[in-house]
Symmetry: C3
Subunit: 303 residues, 3 copies
């Protein structure tokens, strides 16, 4: 879980994923020698801060987003949300600006507008993220940013033995998207890949529980093609991986952008459930992480 | 009207349009021998559950959506909307799951959340649609799902004599879309077609009445290019087809996705008005259906 | 400022940008002989009512939108907004329909629905815009439609000396967009251009003031890539152009559509701030206009 802890600690709010790109490129360069198959690595200006790994003859792509929620410093001591953070008063936020490192405290005014408390003014436009407190317990992992560093962790674990497939590390997922359409274009036009698995974290709810297995989401705000979801459920059953079916009316993911892109992608969200989403204390059961990795390994073979 | 009745009875909520695809492919294979010109038929995995018919040297495409509104079974007896259904308490919903056929009753709790009443639990993710009661009266057709089975019916009637044109049967229109961008890409890149007519059903309102002709929509939530709408109005006048001008600030259609796609489509919504939209009792005047078919026949020639 | 006045007076609400296209094509044909470098001009049906100017070997594109807010006549005396107009009761609206020129008065009913007062009925679908009262003061310009005729004016002033670059005049920006995706496709596929500056007008706020320089927007509802914004700020500093940093959580621009297009565009909104946005009395400081033009000239060289 050292890798997961490192991933959680990278400062990469939506729009500023550069530090995560750098971390991942270093990690992949170093680790790929141990992987069963070496991927082709695509990155650079044509991909902004995204990364694509291509293994063998791909049929299916895994999408994991690199960005996190957070705050942007506006004027005076005001903060604007990046994505939909859900923290308490007193949460510690970190970042840096022209004057150095920042560790400040979050507060809200009567109208529920966020602002910071700090000994000095912070530069306009500075991004602040939660101070990460990674807790590796017996049954649970608790940390800020398991959404979606756990999705990245899953993809990197699957990469170790992957034969055929694409892994995509995307940007801006928490704040309206923007990278998935051109990433979809690239993998569809180059390799005709049009099956996608969204490696992301979902919610513990009145139908999805901790420790009952990875969630296969039949829908959220968007509805994927039923025949593709059915295939995934059938593989999970055949391979005897522990899973739960999720059915939601809200929430979305990189799947939304695949759905509306001008490429005929089938997609399905497959991920561990978490409690306390978008707080500094996201909490995921370790058995669900194991089931997630196991199911992805089978899906990349069987789909 | 036997065909229209059959179309209304196909179970094909957004995301599960497979049954409508199968129905249409069978119908087209059988009927195309009687059509004046045989179309090329495009379908298969690259089109998900969509179908494209290409006649002659096309300049204009007709878009009709295959999907309908409905409900998805969530947890316990909860229902989530697919699109924006607008039914009453007691409406009968049908579907099927691993345990067999379902015919259950819709109810709402105090917070206006939908749930079902049925003698047993229904599988998670099961889609339910209105039980169809098709009524062919003297002046009016009343049925669930005239939106947009009437749009499909119109397209199939126009197909009988069509010389040059494309007919597109699309998916997901009722629930956020997703197919139109790649369909637009295909017909634009292959045949340079960038004129589109949205064969769909609109609303009787304080400006659009039953029996006064097909509605040409000057705008809804989206605004099509004025010069294209003007051409359509001019053709309707020249050809002396009965029509009404619609001007709305809400509602959208496959036209929205053409508008925002990376292809320079001009589009206009042209369709019969209906009362009781998205209920099981959608009601359309037969004269307006006739005017719709007639106007489409002229538009496909004159545009 | 004669050109700016003329631009403000063109009637071109979203969806009906034809008159602005005609004005600009005439202007460009006439003026380009005086420009340092002659551009290639792209327009016609494949571009709907948009225009693209290509100078030399472009690396960066300027986007300025041609459309304005306004109203569409619905039924009876009702008006529907085009975009988000923000006028007072009594505002004079102009347009024309089949019966001739219109100059009517705006009113609101108790539910804040807009309607017109005029001696006769106005044709359905007629677009009305503010009557323009252009005031060229000592320090300030005041007029309807500085948003975004000032953005166009800036682009045309930059065109006078531009060596390498693209200038794009887009449509529908005020009402949901629709042209930018295919414009982005064209300039990316033909010239690999994927840097964009949004030449548009922003708001005077509690952090951005009249006369303090052009605003470089670090974010609005959308978040551009931080590394690109940083480059622009660095150029403004190096070239000693007066600028202000904007940080907002609302508002959007052609940048939103570049962000979500299937092309990897970096974009940044750079424009003068105005007071009384979307009223007939938009007000911009002349020094900020000068700073805007100056910064664009440098950016097109240095980026």
């Amino acid at each position: 879980m050292k890798l997961l802890k490192q991933l959680c600690e990278v400062h990469a709010p939506s729009g500023n994923e550069g530090p995560m790109k750098d971390f991942l490129l270093r990690y992949i360069q170093k680790e790929k020698k141990k992987w069963k198959n070496a991927p082709e690595i695509f990155h650079g200006d044509e991909f902004q801060d995204c990364i694509i790994l291509k293994f063998g003859k791909p049929r299916t792509a895994i999408f994991a987003h690199m960005d996190s929620i957070g705050f942007t410093v506006r004027y005076q001591n005001q903060l604007l949300p990046i994505g939909s953070p859900d923290p308490e008063v007193g949460t510690i936020l970190v970042g840096h600006d022209s004057k150095g490192l920042i560790e400040c405290t979050l507060d809200f005014d009567r109208d529920n507008h966020a602002f910071y408390k700090f000994g000095r003014t912070i530069d306009r436009g500075t991004e602040l993220t939660y101070k990460v407190n990674f807790r590796n317990g017996k049954q649970f992992i608790e940390s800020a940013y398991l959404d979606d560093r756990l999705g990245i962790y899953n993809a990197l674990r699957v990469a170790e033995t992957l034969k055929d497939g694409v892994i995509v590390f995307s940007c801006w997922e928490e704040h309206g998207g923007g990278a998935v359409p051109y990433l979809a274009k690239f993998i569809y036009e180059n390799w005709k890949v049009r099956q996608a698995l969204i490696s992301d974290i979902t919610w513990v709810s009145d139908g999805v529980e901790h420790g009952k297995g990875v969630a296969i989401s039949m829908r959220d705000r968007n509805i994927p093609r039923r025949s593709f979801v059915n295939k995934i459920i059938a593989i999970a059953k055949k391979r005897k991986v522990r899973f739960q079916l999720e059915v939601e009316g809200m929430g979305s993911s990189d799947g939304r952008e695949l759905q509306t892109s001008p490429y005929p992608f089938d997609w399905c969200f497959v991920g561990a459930p978490e409690q306390y989403a978008h707080t500094p204390h996201e909490k995921v059961h370790k058995d669900d992480i194991d089931a997630m990795i196991e199911l992805y390994q089978w899906l990349m073979k069987d789909l």
